[in-house]
């Protein structure tokens, strides 16, 4: 058992790992398992007795079975397209170097933070019968939904894979090239295997985002193309049929767990360790035109809805004007809002700061535990179950969690229904998987022998972590923080359930404005969306700048 000898880890006793794991687990238990459990309890215990008849009834319905398959197909297809398009974009934006790159990165990030309802309107403005792309006949089709989902998620792939790519050393690739391997062979045999964990991570996150997105699907697909998520929303929020909703929540959970298991298996078979060292960023070569072409196409695709949005924000009564932006300092026509848009932006920023701190703190704890590969098989199982547990919030309906908060966190000492702390907490829960997925690979990559060496030289375990781990982790940490802040700025699903009317976030305000029946508020909503996107992109750009030349990798 030589591995056991090598893995002697005097500094990380099991009790410490368990203790560290306990903190995020408690958080997950109170703010996720409890509300979801509460909703399932209401659904399955009618009049105090367990009633599982809902399963046979619900699953017997052809419409529901169709929705389950649609969910899987839709999310699978959208994730695949996002990856295929996102990887070349990641290469161009993070491995090459050319003027205007920072602007392109900003454009690619934007969709991620735009409120779904705004994107829905922007997409439909393009695709509707009278729109500039109306001739394609895509309005209300399945293709439109897939386009919408891809629009949102390319940025997730480009960013996670890009950050990983940036950290890959180019030595192995260069040696292969100098030995005569064609560029495509180099990519297939050296780069791709090294990027595989990052691509799989991104794909799984994107799949979960797609499987649980309901705003886009409802707006672009209507009733014809629902998903499990939209059905849970309809059954809970409109029909109050908690029995059916509970069954669907369980089905959703099963789909998500199955996906996580598949991904976990795929990840485990990858043994290639990313070669570290300096990565070189160079100017694009002429032979790279296919990659550059795909990237240009993607940027155009992302720009079209954004341009239609910006266009509408600059128009009022058929004339070009900045009036919509000037109105952001007001509460809108007919007292549409209780606060001005600028005040809401302030609230959003404060909440984002809080959510980011919570997500990063918990994320570091989770990543710390996950990255300490344990020596026993049972230990590893526990760790991967622990890792999966924090992916769950992405895969479970925001509606279920939202209503769950409402019916479970309603007794002292946890009467939080009307409390403003729930907003950053809910957002942190959504951001947590992204944080964990960004930090863990960097932590895993550190050779434990470095820590042992430090300790042999007399450092305490804590000291060893500070001198060995921190320098490697801090840049991915920043990237994760930027991601968490963006998630928080753009989050609408859970926030709309929890935000207080007198303290709304910017997406909530935008939703309110856009739902009001007059042109003035509509224009304001468009302008506010542009502001939201710009502020968030600027925030992320700032964080990117801090992490320039990041050495952390997946």
């Amino acid at each position: 058992m030589s591995t056991r000898v090598r893995a002697a880890r005097p500094g990380a006793p099991a009790w410490l790992l368990v203790l560290i794991a306990a903190v995020p687990l408690c958080f997950l238990a109170v703010f996720f398992l409890l509300p979801v459990g509460g909703m399932l309890h209401r659904g399955f215990f009618a009049d105090g007795a367990l009633d599982l008849s809902g399963f046979t009834e619900t699953l017997a319905r052809a419409r529901i079975r169709r929705l389950v398959w649609l969910t899987i197909a839709q999310s699978g297809l959208a994730s695949a397209i996002s990856v295929v398009l996102g990887v070349p974009v990641a290469y161009c934006l993070y491995r090459l170097s050319f003027p205007g790159q920072a602007v392109l990165r900003a454009i690619v990030t934007m969709p991620f933070v735009l409120p779904t309802i705004v994107v829905g309107v922007a997409f439909r403005t393009l695709l509707s019968e009278a729109g500039p792309l109306g001739f394609l006949g895509l309005d209300g089709t399945w293709t439109a939904i897939i386009l919408g989902l891809v629009f949102f998620n390319i940025s997730v792939v480009a960013r996670t894979v890009g950050v990983a790519w940036q950290g890959l050393g180019s030595r192995a690739e260069e040696s292969a090239s100098s030995l005569g391997a064609a560029p495509l062979t180099v990519f297939r045999t050296i780069t791709l295997p090294a990027l595989r964990p990052a691509i799989l991570s991104a794909a799984s996150v994107v799949f979960l985002f797609c499987a649980t997105s309901f705003g886009v699907v409802l707006t672009l697909g209507g009733l014809r193309y629902g998903t499990i998520e939209t059905e849970i929303y309809l059954q809970t929020a409109h029909f109050l049929d908690l029995k059916t909703a509970a069954v669907l929540s369980v089905v959703q959970l099963v789909v998500v767990l199955a996906l996580l298991a598949v991904i976990e298996r795929a990840r485990r078979t990858t043994t290639t360790r990313a070669s570290t060292g300096r990565s070189s960023r160079r100017r694009p070569a002429a032979a790279e035109w296919p990659v550059l072409g795909v990237t240009a196409g993607v940027v155009l695709f992302l720009l079209a809805p954004i341009a239609s949005l910006v266009g509408r924000s600059l128009q009022k009564d058929g004339a070009w004007t900045l009036a919509n932006y000037a109105a952001l300092g007001t509460t809108g026509a007919g007292n549409a809002l209780l606060v001005t848009v600028w005040q809401a932006l302030q609230v959003s920023l404060v909440i984002a700061a809080n959510a980011t701190v919570i997500a990063v703190l918990l994320g570091v704890l989770v990543a710390f535990v996950v990255s300490r590969a344990t020596q026993t098989r049972t230990g590893r199982r526990w760790v991967s179950a622990f890792d999966a547990a924090f992916m769950l919030p992405l895969g479970v309906s925001a509606v279920t969690v939202g209503f769950g908060f409402f019916i479970t966190l309603n007794h002292p000492p946890l009467d939080l229904r009307t409390s403003s702390v729930l907003v950053p907490i809910a957002q942190a829960t959504v951001a947590l998987p992204l944080v964990v997925r960004t930090i863990t690979p960097a932590l895993t990559q550190i050779d434990d022998r470095a820590r042992q060496a430090a300790m042999v030289l007399g450092a305490s375990y804590g000291r060893a972590l500070l001198t060995v781990d921190l320098p490697v982790v801090w840049r991915p940490l920043l990237a994760a923080a930027g991601f968490a802040a963006a998630v928080s700025m753009g989050e609408f699903g859970a926030t709309s359930f929890l935000a207080r009317a007198d303290n709304p976030t910017l997406p909530v305000v935008i939703y309110r404005l856009i739902s009001r029946p007059d042109a003035e508020n509509f224009g304001m909503a468009m302008a506010a969306s542009v502001v939201l996107a710009l502020v968030t992109v600027a925030l992320m750009g700032l964080v990117d700048r801090l992490g320039v030349g990041a050495v952390g990798t997946f």
Partner: protein, 349 residues
Amino acid sequence: MSKHSAALAAITITAAVTLSACGVGGGGSSDAKTVTVMTHDSWAAPAELIKKFEKDSGYTVKIQTAGDAGELTNKLILSKDNPSADVVFGIDNTLGIRAVDAGVFRPYSSAKATDQAKSLALPGADDDLTAIDYGDVCLNVDNGWFASHGLAAPTSLDDLIKPEYRDLLVTPSAVTSSPGTAFFLATVAKYGENGWQGYWTKLRDNGVKITSGWTDAYSVDFSGGEGKGSRPIVVSYASSPPFTIPKGGGEPTTSAVLSTCFRQIEYAGVVKGTDNTKGAEAFIDFISEPAFQKSIPDNMYMYPASGAALPADWAKYAPLATDPLTVDPSTIAAKRDGWLKEWADVTTG
């Protein structure tokens, strides 16, 4: 992460959660000086009026929005055993009986309600609810479009299934939008419980476009809206036309088809189980009084239930239907969900 910083993080998070639980938390119902109002997303009121109420009554008003009218009703029913609000505003006549049957209200009849408000009371709800405002959901047509296409605008629901009006109508979904539900109920009133299915099949065959919400229908697809869409007939409100008066005055560019209207009435009620009954009642009195009633059209785009005076352009360009289509509220309560599920099947084909 050292042992100490891990412990520190643990303490920080625990402390944050505990503090928030004790300090910031707590529903409005535990505080006798605060009136917590649960309402829908469309709530809007002038800040001065609320301030004046707070000053006169000594209560602090806390607004809690809970989604659209449907979500509001469901949240109210779900939190029945431990309500989070003292008073609710925005339950309408399509969902009222469901909430009343669930026993979430404490009876109260406001002395401030006018005779007209009383005439709008929800049949079968006894004294549980007070009518605050109302409005009509009707077809709206783009006058300019019809003039330039040499076609007469439709004047009835029957017209919509005629070939000359093919591909001209857009409506929000009956399942996910409250004006959508109202329009659906108008067709139930007109064609009967067993006749609407046939009508909607014909609408579908005649190219009706269904969007998920009102915003989409009006501001993307409707030719008379901001988005300059392709469809000149939309399901909207009787109060929509004044919003299409061109800058600088003149006639609205759209009008409502008054024979197709379904009347929506919005109510307020005291939440059963509140320990601030007095505050809840004071709030219902406040929103029934003339000052607040007069603010309703400009803020919530509905008509005051009390009969208070309307803004000038409303009085002129936003008449209500004289004989709106209606469905008995108890029938709606009993059959609504089944109908909507059937509607989804009929329209998606």
